[in-house]
């Protein structure tokens, strides 16, 4: 098993979190509940995938009282060594993900601890952790976070024998709310299942309803490679925080060793444009000097960043996921070639259009609860994580809305799901809540292109469907006229009634069952002058 626990680093931000929890997704009662489920599920998936285990997750949200719930998430991952449990869940920014340039679901390592903290702040109760690596011994404890020193406080430790592999975590929460909405944990998990077809989810919601999303593919997707940042994507702040982790002795060697595509010649080019000596120790760089470096880089050209560090869901996996969960009548899936935004950050856009079946959403229409109107549904993802909030301010939403769907014959009242997954090492979120992607021109353009191509394909299908449907309706209507016409002709000519009916039916079938429709040219017979209309009837 890969040792994934070695590079935990410490950061003291627990107090900061307590005061600014809305920044981390804990704003609003509905959102807070979904955020806790998201954080635990993300941790569980990462743990399993890093260990190469196809994830099998059990999630339960249980209602305990008024705005009082318990969230349970259990995975089949490698388990957490006893020594590291406190760090994994009891410390902010303790994770392995911070300061790494790697495509990942989360980015700040604040997740698990944030949930423990939220539970603790709202209920005063600790979070229960049960974990085992499958060796027959199960470790259990309850933990809280000492806010002042950003340390876990562990209590009620137990060790007992039993068969289990993985980690189960239980946190009680107050000030949260579960309700019917497309922002609740049900929807979060439905979408997560769509973007992660290699995961099996078993979910029990507060109404005790069990939903199982089976895996559509068996293999764990390859782990994204860690990569060095491309110079073009760097900010002053990034640069300075990287200096604290480098072993390089000079600023020049810091640049050439920590960045991709930064050759010695390129570093010299940076030197020419800066006023300080680049033999300076990187740790001694001032903000102003770092600024000089970044602005020098902006004027230079670099080879594009490597894109093999990005692992999108892939067209075939997305198709299987759609089949598995939305069972659409028609789907159009597209993964775009990698592209870059802000000059150097690589990203890959994937879109999927799913039509009919369980796709789209239904909004109630009229007073009757049985009446629904189909609507287009937009599902946004960043690195396979569903973005459920802040849709209005999201570049993905803007891109979807900028497509003229009607041009492809796709009306807003179709049962249509539009899925967009944005894959990148660095997802440019609009805020710390990580629920919306900035509306960057390069990103929007790429999403638009993908949607337009997929939209064309779906449009062809839908208009074909409509034609077929129309043709069937017309066939049926014309068939109604067979009897009266046959009877009239029989009355006029004495031709056999059976023969007439049979021949008329054959004529209609020959024309309309082929799914072909003639655009009827309306007759001009009725252009009777308005003034005469009162003269013709009694």
């Amino acid at each position: 098993m890969v040792d994934i626990h070695k590079d935990f680093a410490e950061h003291s931000v627990a107090e900061f979190f307590k005061k600014n929890r809305q920044m981390l997704g804990y704003s609003g009662k509905i959102k807070s509940l979904t955020t806790v489920v998201h954080e635990y599920v993300t941790n569980a998936l990462d743990a399993c995938e890093e260990a190469g285990i196809p994830p099998d997750l059990y999630i339960q949200v249980e209602k305990l009282g008024q705005e009082h719930y318990k969230v349970i998430v259990e995975d089949n991952g490698p388990g957490i060594p006893k020594k590291l449990v406190g760090k994994a869940f009891g410390k902010m920014l303790a994770g392995t993900k911070f300061h790494r340039f790697q495509q990942a679901r989360g980015q700040q390592g604040i997740g698990g601890a944030g949930c423990v903290m939220y539970g603790q702040v709202t209920t005063g109760k600790p979070t229960k952790v049960v974990t085992s690596n499958g060796n027959g011994t199960i470790y259990e404890c309850r933990l809280t976070i000492d806010v002042k020193i950003n340390e876990a406080k562990i209590a009620d430790e137990k060790e007992y024998s039993g068969q289990m592999r993985g980690t189960r975590i239980e946190t009680e929460l107050k000030d949260v709310l579960y309700q019917k909405s497309d922002q609740n944990p049900d929807e979060y998990l439905r979408r997560t299942a769509l973007a992660n077809p290699h995961v099996k989810f078993t979910y029990i919601n507060p109404d005790s309803l069990t939903t199982v999303y089976d895996r559509a593919i068996d293999a764990v997707p390859p782990m994204p490679k860690a990569s060095q940042p491309h110079p073009k994507g760097i900010t002053v702040d990034d640069l300075l925080s990287m200096t604290s982790n480098t072993t390089a002795r000079t600023t020049k060697s810091f640049l050439t060793t920590e960045f991709s595509r930064m050759s010695s010649a390129k570093a010299d080019e940076v030197q020419k444009q800066t006023s300080f000596d680049m033999n300076k120790r990187p740790k001694d760089l001032t903000w102003e000097e770092a600024e000089q470096v970044v602005s020098a880089i902006k004027k230079m050209t670099f080879i594009a960043p490597p894109t093999d560090v990005l692992i999108p869901i892939s067209e075939s996996h997305l198709e299987k996921a759609l089949e598995n969960i939305l069972k659409p009548e028609f789907k159009s899936v597209l993964t775009r070639p990698a592209s870059v935004y802000s000059g150097g950050v690589p990203f890959v856009v994937e879109v999927a259009l799913a039509y009919s079946g369980k796709a789209g959403k239904q909004i109630p229409e009229g007073s009757s609860p049985e009446q629904f109107q189909d609507r287009m549904e937009i599902m946004r993802f960043a690195n396979r994580v569903p973005l459920l909030f802040d849709s209005g301010g999201c570049g993905i939403t803007k891109a979807v809305q900028s497509v003229e769907w009607k041009r492809y014959g796709l009306q807003p009242d179709l049962p249509l799901t539009v899925l967009v997954n944005f894959t990148s090492i660095h997802v440019p979120y609009t805020g710390a809540g990580k629920q919306a992607v900035i509306d960057d021109e390069d990103i929007i353009k790429d999403i638009r292109l993908a949607l337009m191509e997929a939209g064309r394909k779906l449009g062809l299908y839908v208009s074909g469907q409509r034609r077929q449907h129309e043709s069937e309706t017309r066939l049926k209507e014309l068939m109604r006229y067979v009897d009266p016409v046959a009877e009239a002709l029989h009355g006029l000519t004495d031709t056999s009634l059976t023969k007439l009916k049979k021949e008329l039916k054959e004529l209609i079938e020959a024309k309309y069952s082929a799914g072909e429709i003639e655009e009827g040219n309306g007759e001009e017979l009725e252009k009777v002058e308005e003034l005469e209309e009162n003269g013709n009837s009694e």
Binding site: R474, Y481, E518, E523, V528, E532, N536
Partner: protein, 362 residues
């Protein structure tokens, strides 16, 4: 009578046979119907009548947009063939609508939803097999009354139009078989409005002026139009049309004189090219100082006046002036405006002056 209906039956049967043959040949069964309406109406200067042009539209059963009308047309053809002509029964358009209306099995759809649909089928049949609704044994509107020094014979009864009390003779839809026994009149006065007709009749205007007065009660139905034409041609009587001074009135006059656009195929039998427009004219309004009694023209009046200015059969100088004046003044007048001069003004001053001076619009 028997021959006429046999002839029409032959035509209807021929239509059925043509359609049946097309079905047997696996072709789209279709009926050819001359286009009706302004786009296919020509003004024939020689006869002074509106004639149907050569445009033909094809109503095909397999064309979704035509299918229902095709079915309806066939139902009407069969109804006329078997229910009316074969049995010698006459009926009204409304009766036929009820006789043919039924729900198509397995649907909410009816063979005919509104009477206007079956009415249109009748006109379509008239033009496509070249017959008249009267010959299909379908009666058109019964509207219009007449009084005057005339004696006729109708279904064996002798009727004196001068001896029918206050009501006058109601003009039937079919006047083909009417026999004129005695016609002593010098002219025919056609009046749009029933009220004015009553007034004239009460004053015994027809007796004093030795004329026939007819009210069309609005747009002229086919019976009165045919009656006016017969009297005018058979007895060389001048026809004067007296309507409101507005687009509607002018159109009534136009239909009586030239035939109608919707029924241009019947102009030969229904149009009276010698008819003259007596009033109410724009000049009358000035001459008799009726400005105070005019009505502001509505947008629809303006539009119709403008349309009429373009019609070939309204290109005379007098009519162009009339329409132009109306558009300039922006008003119209009802013939009742004349009553502002006194209730007997129409019979004792206006009409005698107009007729004596031959003050007509043509």
């Amino acid at each position: 009578m028997a021959t006429a209906s046999d002839d029409v039956r032959k035509k209807l049967k021929a239509l059925g046979t043509k359609v049946t043959k097309e079905i047997e040949a696996k072709e789209s069964p279709r009926i050819e119907i001359p286009v009706r309406g302004l786009s296919n109406v020509e003004y024939d200067e020689k006869s002074g009548l509106l004639k149907l042009g050569g445009q033909v539209s094809k109503r095909s059963f397999l064309n979704y947009a035509h299918a229902k009308k095709f079915m309806q047309t066939m139902l009407v053809a069969n109804f006329a063939y078997n229910e009316l002509l074969k049995t010698g029964i006459h009926t009204s358009l409304r009766d036929m609508f009820y006789a043919l209306k039924r729900t198509l099995p397995g649907s909410n759809e009816n063979t005919f939803e509104e009477q206007i649909e079956s009415d249109h089928c009748v006109v379509d049949l008239e033009v496509s097999v070249d017959t008249l609704r009267e010959d299909l044994h379908l009666s058109a509107d019964v509207r219009g009354r007449v009084v005057g020094p005339v004696v006729i014979k109708d279904r064996g009864d002798t009727i004196d139009w001068a001896k029918l009390g206050s009501g006058g003779w109601a003009i039937p839809s079919n006047v083909e078989e009417i026999e004129f026994k005695k016609v002593d009149a010098k002219f025919i006065l056609v009046i749009e409005k029933n009220a004015a007709f009553e007034r004239l009749h009460e004053d015994r205007y027809w007796e004093k002026n030795n004329c026939i007065i007819v009210t069309t009660q609005g747009q002229a139905a086919r019976g009165p139009r045919r009656l006016i034409q017969r009297l005018s041609t058979e007895y060389k009587l001048p026809v004067y049309v007296f309507t409101d001074g507005d687009a509607y009135g002018w159109y009534i006059y136009s239909v009586i004189k030239y035939g109608s656009m919707a029924l241009a195929h019947t102009s030969d039998r229904l149009g009276t090219p010698d008819a003259k427009f007596l009033g109410l004219t724009m000049k009358d309004i000035e001459k008799y100082k009726l400005e105070k009694y005019t009505i502001k023209a509505k947008p629809v009046d303006i539009k119709r006046a403008k349309d009429m200015m373009k019609y070939d059969w309204f290109q005379t100088k007098a009519w162009q002036n009339e329409l132009k004046t109306m558009l300039e003044k922006g008003y119209k007048a009802e013939l009742e405006a004349l009553s502002s001069k006194g209730l007997k003004f129409i019979t004792e001053t206006y009409l005698p002056e107009k007729i004596k001076n031959k003050d007509f619009l043509e």
